[in-house]
Symmetry: C2
Subunit: 257 residues, 2 copies
DNA sequence: TGATGTGGTTGACGTGGATCAACGGCGCGC
DNA sequence: GCGCGCCGTTGATCCACGTCAACCACATCA
C-alpha cells in the first residue's frame, strides 16, 4: 500500500520508476498510467486527456478526502499513498468497504445520489488527482477509449464488491485473512513491489472491520499463520513464506457461516 | 418481486397499470420507465432510445439468463419477473450477491472483464430487455441523459453493494433479516405494490446465502419476528405488521461480529 | 529518561449462530 | 387420491468467534 516509498519499505519499484513531478498533471506523463483510468488508451486518445485532471490534492494521514454526505463533484485517482473507505451506522458501527492504493479510483459511490455515500480516509500522507466529474462525462462522450475504460473501472468495482460479499458471507476467519493477504500481495505485484513482503498501512481493527471480524480474531489468525510457517508477521510488516498454503486455505475448508 | 402479477399476489399495482405489449420494445412506450435505465431523460432523448433494446428474452423459472464465464455482450433490464445473482466457489459454496426485480439492470459485472463474473437465475418465469452493450456505449456518447443515467445505475449498484457489506460485516442475524425485509418492502412500494404485504420469490436458503446465514437461522429469525408480532409469516407470504419495530431492530443492538 | 497513549498479542470464558436431526406442509406427477 | 420430494420449522448440541481483561511493544513528547 506504498506508493512513493514514503515509509521504509522492503519493496522496490522494479518496473516503473517514480519521479514525482509536481508541475505536470497530464495523464500522458504519468507513470501510473498502466494501473489507472487511462489504461489501454491510444496515444492519440491519451493526449486528449491533458485537461482531465484539474489539480492534485495532498491529504495527510487520517484526514478525509471526502465524507458521506459531501456533494459529489469529482472522482479521484490515487497518485501516491493509500486510503480506506468506510460506511458508518447511526449507532457508531463502522464497516470498512475497501482499501485503495495507487492508481485506483475513489469516489464512484457519489455518482448515484450526487453526494458521497461513504468516507474516504488517507491511511498515510497521500496525493490524489482530482478528476472533475462533469468534465469526465463530457470528455468520455468524445473519447471512446476513455468512456470504455471508465465503464470498466466501475464494473471492476462491482465485481470486487461481490468478492468481498463472498468473503463476508461464506468464509471462516482464516480464509478471509488468507484472501485478504493474497489480494494485497497481488496488487503490490501489479505495482512492481514484492509479492512476498510488504507493510500493512492499516490497523488490525481496520482489517477486522473490512473482513467482518474483531481485531483479536485477526490477530489470532495472524499468529496461527505464523505458527504454521505460512507468514512471518512483525507488527505491520508481513512476509508471505508459503503462498501455496494460503491459497489452499482459501479453497478448502467447507462450512463457516 | 412480482412484476406482472404472474402469481397470486395480494399486492396491487397502484400507479402504473401494466399492459403487456409484446410487439413494442421501445423504452418510450414502457411503463417501467420510471424505474429503469431511461429514468429522468427528456422526451426528446427518450425517442432516441428506440433501437436501444434489441429484443426481449423470456427466461423460465430456475433458468440462467447468463452464467459466470459467458462472454459479455449485453446488459439486461428486467421487464417482468425477478432474478438472483450468485457467485460460486470451487468447493461449491454459493454466495447470493443480489435479488433483482422489475426495472432493475442485470449484467453490469460483465463489463470489466468482457465476460460475466456471476450467474443470473430467474426466480420465476421472467422477461428481460436485451440491451446490446456496444450499442449502449455508442448511444450514450450521443445522448447525454443516457450516459448520465447509465453511470448512475452503475454507481447505485456500488452503493447497494456497500450496504450489503455493512450488513454482512457488522450486523447480527435479526438485524440482517430486518434490513432485508425493509429493503424489499421499499422496492415493492416503488413499484406500486403494497409495502406491507408481499410474496417472497426466493427460498430460505437463498435468503440465507444472501444474508450470510444458514437457512435454519433465517427460519428462526422469521419465527421470532412472528412471535413478537412484528411480521406475519406464512411460508413465502409476508405481512409486515410493525415496520417501526423492524427499523428499530436495524438501528439499535450494538455488538455482533 | 520516564510518562503516556495507541496498537497488538494472548488467555479465559461466553454466546450467537452452525450443525445435525426429526418432522410437518404443500405441490406435483402418476 | 396417494406417494414423493422440496421447503420450511423446530429442537438439541457444538464450536468459532466475540467479549473482557491483562499485558507488552513501540512511538511521541516533556
Amino acid at each position: 500500500m506504498n506508493g512513493q516509498g514514503s515509509e521504509s519499505d522492503v519493496q522496490m519499484k522494479v518496473t516503473v520508476p517514480v519521479t514525482v513531478n509536481g508541475l505536470k498533471s497530464a495523464c500522458s506523463q504519468c507513470n501510473l498510467l498502466e494501473l489507472c483510468l487511462p489504461f489501454g488508451m491510444s496515444e492519440h486518445e491519451l493526449n486528449r486527456l491533458d485537461d482531465l485532471v484539474g489539480a492534485r490534492r495532498k491529504i495527510k494521514r487520517q484526514q478525509n478526502l471526502y465524507r458521506a454526505g459531501d456533494p459529489f463533484e469529482a472522482i479521484y485517482a490515487i497518485r501516491a499513498g493509500s486510503f480506506k473507505t468506510d460506511v458508518l451506522l447511526e449507532d457508531g458501527r463502522e464497516q470498512v468497504t475497501g482499501f485503495q492504493m495507487t492508481g485506483e479510483i475513489l469516489g464512484l459511490d457519489g455518482i448515484s445520489a450526487e453526494s458521497h455515500s461513504c468516507n474516504a480516509v488517507a491511511l498515510e500522507d497521500s496525493e490524489v488527482c482530482v478528476i472533475g466529474y462533469a468534465r469526465l462525462e463530457e470528455l468520455s462522450r468524445e473519447v471512446e477509449g476513455l468512456q470504455h475504460q471508465f465503464h470498466k473501472v466501475m464494473s471492476r468495482e462491482i465485481v470486487r464488491d461481490h468478492g468481498v460479499m463472498m468473503l463476508l458471507g461464506s468464509m471462516r476467519a482464516e480464509e478471509r485473512l488468507a484472501a485478504f493477504l493474497l489480494n494485497l500481495s497481488q496488487r503490490f505485484t501489479a505495482r512492481g513491489f514484492s509479492a512476498a513482503e510488504f507493510n500493512l498501512r492499516m490497523t488490525r481493527e481496520e482489517i477486522g472491520s473490512y473482513l467482518g471480524l474483531k481485531l483479536e480474531t485477526v490477530s489470532r489468525a495472524f499468529s496461527r499463520f505464523q505458527e504454521e510457517g505460512i507468514v512471518a508477521v512483525q507488527q505491520k510488516h508481513i512476509r508471505i513464506l508459503d503462498p501455496g498454503r494460503l491459497k489452499k486455505i482459501l479453497q478448502h475448508q467447507a462450512g463457516g457461516r
